[in-house]
């Protein structure tokens, strides 16, 4: 029915943005170590696909993240979320990535990331929210230049149902130059949660569950 469709489009634009903010919609994965003392700055933009002004597109959620190599196998990162900031919400993430297994033959390199996402809406102490997240990434470097295929899953936790939100992903890392890397990812947000009859009419919902989204990131070596 026309009226319901219009309502859902409008509400979807509004609410889908929040969906992205925590479950890693706007960030791309930390795939392989950047090396001790090295650092980079990454800007990423992403989200599940939903109708925005009648156009089906990923909701534009953005993250700016600084990453630094603490040693050869451990990276630290700190990110801020501009999309949330212009809405008057303070939003950051901070975490550590441990690269636990190097690539060996068919065995992919494995990395484990632990992050904390923090949110605060201005002038509202009760709005403070903190969400831990664990991410496991497997990756194959398959070219001398450093092209990498990777896959994995984000797991965001909260004190409400669903207590854990899974986000499987597959991505491709492309080095453009010695300083610039591009990441392209496809994510399946909340694949065990039914998509039907939600306020948001997500456009890509495999088997009626979750929502497909896309992410792209641009990293610049400092």
């Amino acid at each position: 029915m026309k009226i319901i469709r219009m309502r859902k489009i409008a509400a979807g634009c509004l609410l889908a943005i929040m969906f992205l903010s925590i479950i890693r919609c706007g960030t791309v994965a930390s795939v392989q170590p950047i090396g001790k003392g090295e650092s980079n700055l990454a800007f990423s933009l992403a989200g599940p696909v939903a109708p925005v002004f009648d156009i089906k597109m990923p909701i534009p959620y953005t993250v700016l993240r600084y990453r630094r190599g603490l040693n050869e196998n451990t990276d630290f990162h700190f990110g801020i979320h501009p999309t949330m900031i212009i809405l008057g919400n303070f939003s950051i993430d901070v975490g550590i990535t441990k690269h636990i297994v190097p690539q060996s033959g068919w065995i992919p390199a494995l990395s484990l990331e632990g992050s904390i996402y923090g949110f605060y809406h201005m002038n509202e102490i009760s709005s403070i929210r903190v969400y831990p997240e664990i991410t496991l990434i497997g990756s194959y470097r398959f070219s001398e230049r450093g092209h990498i295929l990777y896959f994995g899953v984000h797991n965001m936790m909260q004190l409400a149902r669903p207590y854990v939100v899974f986000v499987p992903l597959i991505g491709f890392e492309v080095p453009i130059s010695n300083k610039i890397i591009i990441n392209l990812e496809t994510k399946w947000y909340a694949p065990i949660e039914e998509s039907e009859n939600r306020v948001v009419d997500y456009s890509l919902t495999p088997f009626g569950y979750g929502a497909i989204g896309f992410a792209c990131g641009l990293s610049y070596k400092l």
Binding site: A11, G12, M18, G88, N89, S127, N197
Partner: protein
């Protein structure tokens, strides 16, 4: 490099503090029109029958936050037993404007009640733009108008809110004036509940909207009997994710009508005469028999 960093961080702090962008506009779906109640503007799906004589329809212009808002006071059917005893303050839903809800006015008018329906700012001919503050202001103005009329019993003004209008009706009942009864149809629990429904995240609604839309928080303070209707097949304001949140917080006396086959828009159509009877029975018990 350090100066650039300081400028960048300062800019972000400034943006954070000023909240330069709000998503409230996405909450509202008004349709502007030049004139009300023109038959060519009505959609067949709205179920309008044009059964109310023009002589009983009184156009009303009010001022809210400096903007003109428009409404219609519909006098109860002259032969009705309860004519002029009960007046329904009807707070309509999110889509379009008064035209969209005229069929609902007809249902209530058929029951024998006076009905006052008004367009929020930005809806229909009403000036301004919709917002949480504007809707609440419009509701206040509408209530003041009814209470100023000398030809109705101002102690028998029933608040009726459908969907988005439930926020206004509940706000009026809880924060402004306790009516004899409050009727809610397809009411969302809150923006927070919508957020959780959409994104599975337990963030407060204030993260996305400034509008203080929270039926769940206000319902315990309405100070009057509550009648709630909700379609169990509602695919927008899904029954399980909204109705119980309000219902459990509401205090007695309260009644509900959960309609198995009904969606968001069609409770009266699904129920038929039972819809009329349910409302009449409730109002008779808690308003007319008091």
């Amino acid at each position: 490099m350090r100066i650039k960093t300081i400028i960048f961080i300062s800019s972000l702090i400034f943006l954070f503090c000023t909240r330069i962008f709000s998503l409230d506009d996405f909450l509202f779906e008004p349709t502007k029109i030049d004139e009300y109640l023109r038959t060519e503007d009505f959609d067949e799906d709205w179920g309008v029958r044009f059964i109310i004589p023009d002589s009983l329809i009184e156009p009303v212009t009010l001022t809210s936050m400096g903007n003109a808002i428009y409404g219609f006071f519909v006098k109860g059917y002259p032969d009705s037993m309860i004519n002029n005893q009960v007046t329904i303050l009807y707070c309509h839903g999110n889509s379009d404007n008064i035209n969209r809800y005229w069929g609902r006015v007809e249902y209530l008018w058929e029951m024998g009640y006076n009905v006052f329906i008004f367009d929020y700012q930005g809806y229909g001919k009403s000036e301004g733009n919709p917002s949480g503050e504007a809707l609440f202001s419009d509701g206040n103005v509408a209530l003041d108008y009814l209470q100023s009329r000398t030809d109705i019993d101002t102690s028998k003004i029933v608040f009726y809110g459908w969907s988005l209008g439930s926020y206004v009706a509940t706000y009026l009942a809880a924060d402004v004036y306790h009516p004899p009864v409050l009727v809610l149809e397809a009411a969302p629990a809150s923006v927070t509940a919508l957020l959780h429904d959409a994104g599975l995240i337990n963030l407060p609604g204030s993260y996305v909207a400034e509008a203080d839309f929270d039926n769940e928080a206000r319902i315990a303070d309405i100070g009057c009997p509550l009648f709630m209707m909700h379609g169990k097949a509602d695919d927008f304001i899904v029954f399980e994710r909204h109705a119980p949140l309000i219902w459990e917080k509401a205090v007695e006396p309260k009644q509900n009508l959960w309609v198995e086959q009904a969606g968001h828009d069609d409770i009266p159509e699904i129920l038929g005469n039972s819809y009329n009877q349910a409302i009449i029975d409730f109002i008779t018990e808690y308003v007319l028999n008091q």
